[in-house]
Symmetry: C4
Subunit: 218 residues, 4 copies
Amino acid sequence: MSDRATAPVPPRLQEWEQRTEVPLFVAGLVFLVGYAFRVLAPPDTGAVRDLALALVCATWLAFVVDYGVRFRLSGLGRRFVRAHWLDTVVLLLPLLRPLRLVQVYTAVQKRREQPRLSLYARVMSYASLTAVLLGVSAALAVYHQEHDAPGASIRTFGDSVWWACATLTTVGYGDAVPVTFGGRVVAVGLMACGLALLGAVTGSFSSWLVQVFRREDE
Amino acid sequence: MSDRATAPVPPRLQEWEQRTEVPLFVAGLVFLVGYAFRVLAPPDTGAVRDLALALVCATWLAFVVDYGVRFRLSGLGRRFVRAHWLDTVVLLLPLLRPLRLVQVYTAVQKRREQPRLSLYARVMSYASLTAVLLGVSAALAVYHQEHDAPGASIRTFGDSVWWACATLTTVGYGDAVPVTFGGRVVAVGLMACGLALLGAVTGSFSSWLVQVFRREDE
Amino acid sequence: MSDRATAPVPPRLQEWEQRTEVPLFVAGLVFLVGYAFRVLAPPDTGAVRDLALALVCATWLAFVVDYGVRFRLSGLGRRFVRAHWLDTVVLLLPLLRPLRLVQVYTAVQKRREQPRLSLYARVMSYASLTAVLLGVSAALAVYHQEHDAPGASIRTFGDSVWWACATLTTVGYGDAVPVTFGGRVVAVGLMACGLALLGAVTGSFSSWLVQVFRREDE
Amino acid sequence: MSDRATAPVPPRLQEWEQRTEVPLFVAGLVFLVGYAFRVLAPPDTGAVRDLALALVCATWLAFVVDYGVRFRLSGLGRRFVRAHWLDTVVLLLPLLRPLRLVQVYTAVQKRREQPRLSLYARVMSYASLTAVLLGVSAALAVYHQEHDAPGASIRTFGDSVWWACATLTTVGYGDAVPVTFGGRVVAVGLMACGLALLGAVTGSFSSWLVQVFRREDE
C-alpha cells in the first residue's frame, strides 16, 4: 500500500510475492515470538534463549533473501530502494518487522469477497492492528533496554506494556518512563508512529459515527 | 446501532425489544447504582453491601435472560453472537452495561418528533454520554481494585474520578495512577474506548463550529 | 451564536442588546481584572482587595440586571432560560463571564466590512480567544483554591498559569496539579471546555493548511 | 504562504526575494548551528563559543537587512509589518528563524516539476519539518535556560530533546520539566505551535489513509 510501483509489476515478481506471502507472514510471527522469548525468558534458561535468538536471526535472513529476490525481479535497480522504502526500513529496523503481518492481513482482506467492512471500519482495524503490533514491539524493546538499568521505573514486562499503552494514547502518566538512551529512542519512535495511527483511528471513528447518525436520519 | 441485522428482524423479536426497552434501561441504572453502593459503602454496612450485591446479580440475570430470549427469537443461531457482538460483550463485561442507557437514550431521541438536534450535536451528546458512563464505571472499578492496594496513589473515590477525568481527556497528570494489575487493565480499556469517544466529540465540535460560522456568512 | 431564538427577536430587545453591548463588554473586562486583583493582591492590601470584591459584585449585579431585562423584553417566559442557556450558565458561573468578551468580539467582527478573515481563521481566532480567557479564569480560580492548601504543588500564580497551559494542551506534565476538591472541579471544567476548543483550533488549522496547499496547486 | 500581499508584488521586490532565497536559507541553517554550538559547547571552549555568538549575531543582522530592504521595496509603508507578520515575528523571535528553512523548502518543492507528492503528503512533510525544527530550537533554548538552574530536571541536552518530544506529541510524562520562567515560556510556545502542527500531521494522515483505502475499492 505504501509502495507505489512506478512501473507495472513484472509477472515473475508478482508470482514471487504471492508465493512468499504466507511464509513471510509466518516469519513475521516467528520473529515476534522469538524476540519475545529472547527478551522475556529468565536468564537461567540458556537453551530457550539461544533457540529464540536463532529464530530471530533466521527470520531476518528470510527477509533479507526475500528483499534480494524482489530487488532482482523488479528490474528497477536502485530505484527499488526508494519505491519500496517501507520494505527497506523494515529490513533495517527489525522491530518494525511485525508490520508485515498488517500488510498480509490487508492483502487477505482485499481478496476475500465476503460482505466487506465499511471504509472507515477498515481504516480503523488496519490502524488499530498496526498500533497494537508496534506497541508490543516497543514494549519488548523498552523492557529489554530498561529492566536492569540503574534508576529505571520500568522493571517488569507488565510495566513496559503499561507504559506503551499510556504512550500510544498520549496519556503519558509518567509513573513508568524510559531512562536509558536506547529506551528513549524507541519511545520517540513509538510516539511518532503511534500518534499518527491513533489519529487515524480517532478520525475514522468520528467520521463513521457521523455517517451512522446521518444514515439514521434518511 | 452497532448491531447490523443481516436478516430482517422477526416481528416477535421486535415486539420483545420494544417491551424490554424500559425494564432494561432501569436494569442498567440499577446495576450502576448497585455496583456503586457495593464499592463505596463503608465496610461495616454489611446489609447494604449485600443488598447491592444482590441487585448487581439480579440485573446480570435480567441481561442474561434478555440475551437468551433474543437469541431464540432472532432465529439466527450462532450468527446472532456475531451480529449482536455489542450485546455479547456487554453480557460478559458487566462494567460496560451502563452503555445500555446510551442505546435506549438514542432510541428514545429517535422516536420523539420534537425539533431535533443537529447531526453534530447528536453525535456530541451521544459520545459525551457514553464517555461519562464509561468514566464513572471505570472510576468505580479502579477504586475497587486500588483503594487498599499497597503503594496505591488512588485512595478515595474522589481520586478515582479525578484519575478517570485526566485519563479520558488524555491529560494524564500521573499524580493518581493505578498500580495493580486489575486497575491497569481497566485503565487501558478506558483509554481505548474513551479516546475514540472523545475524538468523536472533538471532531464533531470542530465541524459544528465551522458550520455555524459558515451559516453566518450566508 | 449559541442562543437560537426560536421566535423572532422583539425590536425593543434588539435595541437593548445593541445598547448594552459595550457596557457588558466593559463589565466582563472589569470582572476579570477585579477577580484577578482580589485573588492576586497581597493579603495586607485590604483596601485594594475590598475594592476588587466590590467591582466583582457590581459586575455580577450588572449581569443579573441585563439578564432580567432581556428575560422581560423577550416575552418568552420560562422558555428564555432554555433558549439562552449560555447566558444562564454565565450568570450562575461567574468564572465563565469573560466568555462575554468573545461574544462581543465575534459580533464586532461581523459588523466590520473589512476584508474578512477566512472561515477557518475565524474559527481559530474565536476558539483560541475563548481558550485563553477560560485558561486565565481557571488559573485564577485554581490559584485561589490551592495556594495555601496543605501539600499543594501550585504555590504561585505562575505555577497556576503553567498548569493551565499544560492542561489545555493535554500535555499534563503533572509537576503542578490541583489537590483540593474545588481546584479539581475547576480543572475538570477546564479539561472539558478547553479540549473541545483546542480540538476546534487543531481541526481548523489542519483544514486551513490543506486549503492553502490545494490553492497553490491550482 | 502566510504573507498575503494585498497589492501585487513590485518586480524589484520579486527579484530581491529570488536572489536572497539561497543566502537566507544558509543564514537560517547557520543560525541554528551557531546557536547549537553556543549552547552546547563546553564552558572552557571560549573561542568556539565566541565564534558561535558572532555567527548568531551575523545572521540576525542579515535578517534585519533583508527585512529592511523588503520593507522599502514593497512600497507598503507600515502595512508591510501587518501583511508580512510572519517575517516580523521571525525577526523579533530569533528562535523561530529556522522556520525560514521550511519556507524555502516549500518554495523549492513548488518549482520542481517532478512527480509531485500528493496534497496530504505535502501537508504532512511541511508540518513535520516545521515541528522538528521548532522542537530542536525549543530543546536548545530550554537546555540553555535550565541546565544549571536549581532543582531542574532537565540537566543534559538529551533530557531536553526527550522533553521536547514528549511535549510535541502531548504525551507529557513529566519526568523532565522546565522549572525556570524562561524555560516555561519557551515550553508554552512549543505547546501552542507544536500542537497545531501535530494536529495537521494527524489530520492529514487520517485523510490520506482514508483516500488510499477508497482508491483500492475502485
